[in-house]
């Protein structure tokens, strides 16, 4: 047969099959009519041949054969047979599932949760850790980074990321502009190096000030990435030549949408960024989020050359000739034929030469070592924060998936055993083994589909719920999990596949059932015992999984309660935090301090406000400032870390936060810009740097070695310690209170942006409108940003922990429920099987109490084995979560012991009913049961 006619026939068959399925009723009546016609004609012919009508009709029927069989064969000719059988299997399967709605619901819910949790968590992981930048050939992008020893690297001023590595080293992706310029001019191991820097800025469009994300980009940025603007023009090399020139901006697609409603009229309009006017010249392609990361889109792109105007540095505003401050990020494209290690070695050589040529490298300091990284995901800063939690979450949700599968398996196993008789009857009536296997398979798939459908709903909801839990409550966020169909289908496929896999074993064993054994009332013990063992292993496995999940929940719960109970050292309630960040360009050194003094005074008389202070760093917000601290008599030693944490604060700081002054005094109105410089230190600092001495009245200097200039925000003359205060936590709840010293902001030359901390009598939010009003009156271009209460701030740092507790508790509860159902099922089954044995035992003199104990003992052993296995695996996995825990070891005995007790208790409760049934057996009934 030719290929064409084969295709034609296949098409005809499909059409005919569809027609038959769609118009089933008409088909049936037509078959009926056709056969009746045939019979009539045949009968008529026979009568014509001389037969009596009755006899003719009888012979005609015999010759044609049974109409039922004929119709069956005709349907088979149309390819309807498997369809009909599937239909019947589905109907029967649905009936079987409906007959035990409780069990079906448990299985479907566990599957739904497993699929939902896995889809959500895998989608989130994929998005957080695997999303690439939306640029052509993202895989070719390389990010330049460097590593150096944490304390002695020649680079002292990093304005950018700084990540401590194990072994006393640290890594950063920030470079000085001269390094960028010379790398670009130098070797050719990477194509088109370009530079960028992501910053938060205040954008003023019309009268409305808002916080925006801005990327300062080199002139070749868009060109190197291969991006063309969707409207207008990109930032070009000519925009990025003279510092301070080139006030043009490209906006992102997202910002165009959010702020301008996609109006094309935006091109050519003016917008103020940090008080500097820019002309909007283009709109970046949609989907492009800037190269810093692929998660949160940037709003503005402006030329790097604008840095001295929009982000002036105190002292020397321009960073283009500053080789000490490392701030700019560099990327390039891999060149074909040059391996990454080659490129890295070459660039490292160049970097060392440039550093030696442009910076003073003191003896004992090491040069930064270049580290060439994959740039397809931008700076990929989220890796540090999320890689480990996401791994843990994926493992946990994977365990839930396993649990869901085990549950289906258990269900199918139990059902298979219960239906052995049914299968034997079917076999005896002539059903094929394949038909029986298919029937059972259809049932598993039906169950799995039910779970899958519920799972779809769960994961769709999870997509909305999870980001809400992650994001800080007071911040607008456009981050959401894209519902990932591929992940969902993958999860469903895995679940259905494992459901079928587990369902297959009982299906095959059912189809192999020995006919006469199955039909006899009592001859099943031999086969059933084997099945009982399989079921027990499964229940043991479920208990082990439950142990794991419950221990996990316990560890995270203890961590969360531990962290929530931490005494931070200051009063956290009724405390409002809000930032004011005066633009450096307009508020030069000194003017910013005056502005803050004005604001502080104005805020303090707002009704409802108890007291106001301001601080450089709010607490428990992952912020930190540190500087050298040299008490009189100590000298600067580059080989020693003499750094301490500090905070620049208002005069009311200690009273507003209710930090006790233990000795001496806090700051007060006597401390002014012209009075002698004073400081307060905390207990830890006193203990560490003034052991056995009274620190009050001692003098110290800070930042003495910074002879090369930058960052000299602190005065160089000596400062007197006038007070000793209680310890407080600083960056987070986990770290012990660090040593700290406090300086009044009034005595600083310049402070820049500060966080206002406002103690209120009514709810903190209630004074907010009045505060905003004051800021607007003093300077319409200023805004109160990042407004939140101290409690919200603390809660946001516990978000990860809270998510973990919620998820693991949910998983743990589900696991417990499933384990309980499993134990109950297996014990009930075992007791039902052994009614005879119980009867004999009773007849031979066993007491009901002994039988009860026997059943409970069996359940206990089963659960102890499962708990042991689960706890063992948990000890191995616990190292993974060690860094996520607080106040407890990963093998926390209380959690382990508590979990074991809980599971044993559940096992005993779940097997209580079967045990009672065993104990209440009447010997005579049991023996007659045979």
């Amino acid at each position: 047969m030719t290929r064409g006619s084969f295709a034609a026939r296949a098409l005809a068959q499909l059409r005919s099959w569809l027609r038959s399925v769609m118009h089933r009723g008409r088909l049936e009546s037509e078959m009926e009519a056709e056969l009746a016609n045939h019979l009539d004609s045949l009968t008529a012919d026979l009568v014509r041949a001389g037969q009596l009508p009755d006899e003719a009709a009888r012979r005609a029927r015999i010759e044609l054969g049974s109409a039922t069989v004929l119709k069956e064969e005709m349907r088979a000719s149309l390819g309807l047979r498997w369809w009909d059988e599937l239909h019947a299997d589905l109907r029967y399967g649905a009936r079987v599932l409906m007959k035990s709605p409780g069990v079906t619901a448990v299985a479907a819910i566990s599957l739904a949760l497993a699929i939902g949790a896995n889809t959500t968590i895998f989608s989130l992981t994929k998005q957080l850790l695997y999303t690439r930048l939306d640029v052509p050939h993202a895989e070719n992008l390389r990010l330049l980074a460097w590593t150096g020893t944490e304390n002695h690297v020649a680079v002292h001023h990093v304005w950018g990321d700084w990540n401590p590595l194990p072994g006393g080293r640290a890594a950063s992706t920030a470079f000085s502009y001269p390094v960028y310029r010379q790398l670009r001019a130098g070797g050719q191991v990477l194509d088109s190096l370009f530079a960028f820097k992501r910053m938060g800025m205040i954008a003023t469009i019309g009268d409305d000030g808002q916080r925006v994300r801005t990327e300062l980009v080199s002139g070749n940025y868009f060109d190197s990435l291969g991006l063309r603007p969707q409207m207008g023009r990109a930032i070009e090399s000519s925009d990025d030549t003279t510092p301070g020139q080139g006030a043009v901006a490209v906006i992102s697609d997202q910002f165009w949408d959010r702020a301008y409603g996609r109006s094309p009229a935006v091109l050519g309009t003016q917008v103020k960024l940090n008080d500097i006017s820019f002309t909007v010249v283009g709109i970046a392609p949609s989907g492009f989020t800037g190269v810093k990361d692929a998660l949160l889109s940037v709003d503005f792109f402006i030329p790097l050359a604008m840095q001295p105007l929009v982000l002036p540095r105190r002292g020397s505003p321009s960073l283009f000739t500053d080789s000490r401050t490392w701030w700019v990020n560099i990327m390039g494209c891999a060149r074909p034929g040059i391996s990454d290690s080659q490129a890295q070695a070459e660039l490292n050589g160049e970097l060392s030469a440039i550093v030696r040529a442009t910076m003073r490298v003191k003896p004992g300091e090491d040069l930064p070592q270049l580290d060439l990284r994959d740039g397809s995901r931008g700076l990929f800063v989220q890796k540090n924060e999320y890689a480990r939690p996401m791994t843990v979450l994926m493992i946990l949700s994977g365990l839930v998936l396993l649990l869901g599968c085990a549950n289906i398996a258990n269900l199918m196993l139990a059902r298979g055993a219960k239906r052995q008789r049914e299968m034997s009857v079917r076999l005896a009536l002539g059903a094929g083994r394949r038909r029986i296997v298919r029937q059972l398979l259809v049932e598993s798939v039906l169950l799995a589909s039910l779970g899958g459908a519920c799972g779809l709903v769960t994961s769709y909801l999870g997509r909305n719920v999870l980001p809400r839990m992650i994001a800080a409550t007071w911040e607008h966020t456009d981050f959401q999990i894209n519902f990932d169909w591929k992940v969902f289908l993958f999860t469903v496929a895995i679940t259905v596949f494992s459901g079928i896999l587990f369902g297959l074993a009982p299906a095959f064993s059912a189809s192999r059932a020995q006919l006469n054994h199955g039909l006899k009332e009592s001859a099943q013990t031999a086969t059933r015992r084997r099945k009982g063992a399989g079921g027990k292993a499964l229940v043991g496995f479920q208990i082990a999984l439950s142990t794991l999940l419950v221990i996990g929940a316990g560890l995270f719960l203890r961590t969360l309660t531990g962290l929530s109970a931490v005494d931070v050292g200051f009063r956290t309630d009724h405390l409002l935090l809000a930032e004011v960040d005066p633009p450096n360009g307009r508020y030069l050194a000194g003017k910013d301090v005056a502005l803050h003094q004005r604001l502080e005074r104005a805020f303090s008389i707002v009704p409802g406000v108890v007291s106001v202070t301001l601080a450089e760093d709010p607490y428990i917000a992952d912020d930190r400032s540190a500087n050298d601290f040299l008490p009189q008599g100590e000298v600067y030693d580059p080989g020693k870390s003499q750094e301490e944490n500090y905070n620049i604060v208002g005069n009311q700081f200690f009273t507003t936060l209710a930090i006790p002054i233990l000795e001496g005094r806090g700051f007060g109105s006597q401390d002014t810009s012209s009075s002698p410089k004073v400081a307060v230190i905390n207990q830890s600092l006193a203990r560490q740097r003034f052991p056995g001495q009274d620190p009050i009245g001692k003098h110290f200097v800070t930042d003495p070695h910074d002879s090369d200039g930058g960052g000299g925000a602190l005065p160089k003359n000596s400062i007197e310690i006038v007070g000793l205060c209680g310890d407080t936590r600083y960056m987070n709840l986990r770290d012990e209170p660090p040593p700290q010293f406090f300086l009044p902001y009034i005595q600083q030359a310049s402070v820049g942006g500060m966080v206002y901390e406002i103690r209120t009598l009514p709810k903190p939010e209630s004074v907010l409108p009045a505060l905003r009003q004051i800021v607007r009156q003093i300077d319409p271009d200023l805004a109160l940003v990042n407004v939140r209460t101290q409690q919200q701030q603390i809660d946001s740092t516990l978000q990860n922990e809270r998510i973990f507790v919620m998820l693991t508790s949910g998983f743990g509860l589900l696991a417990l429920a499933l384990a309980a159902v499993g134990i109950y099922g297996i014990m009930a089954y075992s007791v039902a099987q052994r009614i005879n044995e119980m009867g004999i035992r009773l007849a031979l003199g066993a007491t009901p109490r002994q039988l009860l104990a026997m059943v409970l003992r069996e359940a206990s052993w089963l659960s102890i084995a499962g708990i042991g296995a689960g706890a063992g695996v948990c000890l191995l996995l616990a190292q993974l979560v060690k860094s996520m825990l607080y106040g407890i070891a990963p093998n926390d005995p209380l959690t382990f012991f508590g979990t074991a007790m809980l599971l044993i208790a559940i096992a005993l409760v779940a097997s209580w009913i079967p045990a009672c049934r065993a104990a209440s057996v009447q010997p005579i009934d049991a023996l007659r049961h045979e």
Partner: protein, 115 residues
């Protein structure tokens, strides 16, 4: 007219489809008509299992070789008439040719005598 059993041959396996196609190629027929026509052409020498006819008709229609529509029969009853489709005509040609080839080969084999 039903034939007498003793002078009749059973149908060779696999030839029913071809015979049905041939029968309806001479003009549209209903199921009983197909049966009658085959027996008539064969000179009442072929017997067709009445029961095997309808599954074969349905199979051929399913494969697109014949098409059916309801019409009036000679005794004024509604009957389903089958007719050959272009696809079926092609198939009939192919099968007839194969059959003839086969019959020729087998015939020549059977005619071979001992040398």
């Amino acid at each position: 007219m039903p034939p007498k059993p003793d002078q009749q041959d059973e149908l060779l396996q696999g030839t029913l489809d071809m015979l049905i196609l041939k029968a309806v190629s001479l003009g549209p027929l209903h199921g009983y008509g197909v049966l009658l026509r085959i027996q008539q052409i064969s000179g009442e020498k072929l017997v067709i299992q009445q029961g095997s006819l309808y599954p074969a008709l349905y199979r051929l229609e399913h494969q697109g070789a014949i098409a059916s529509e309801w019409g009036e029969s000679e005794n004024n009853r509604r009957a389903k008439y089958y007719r050959l489709t272009p696809e079926g005509r092609k198939r009939l040609g192919e099968e007839a040719e194969r059959w003839n080839r086969m019959a020729g080969i087998i015939g020549s084999i059977m005619k071979t005598r001992k040398a």
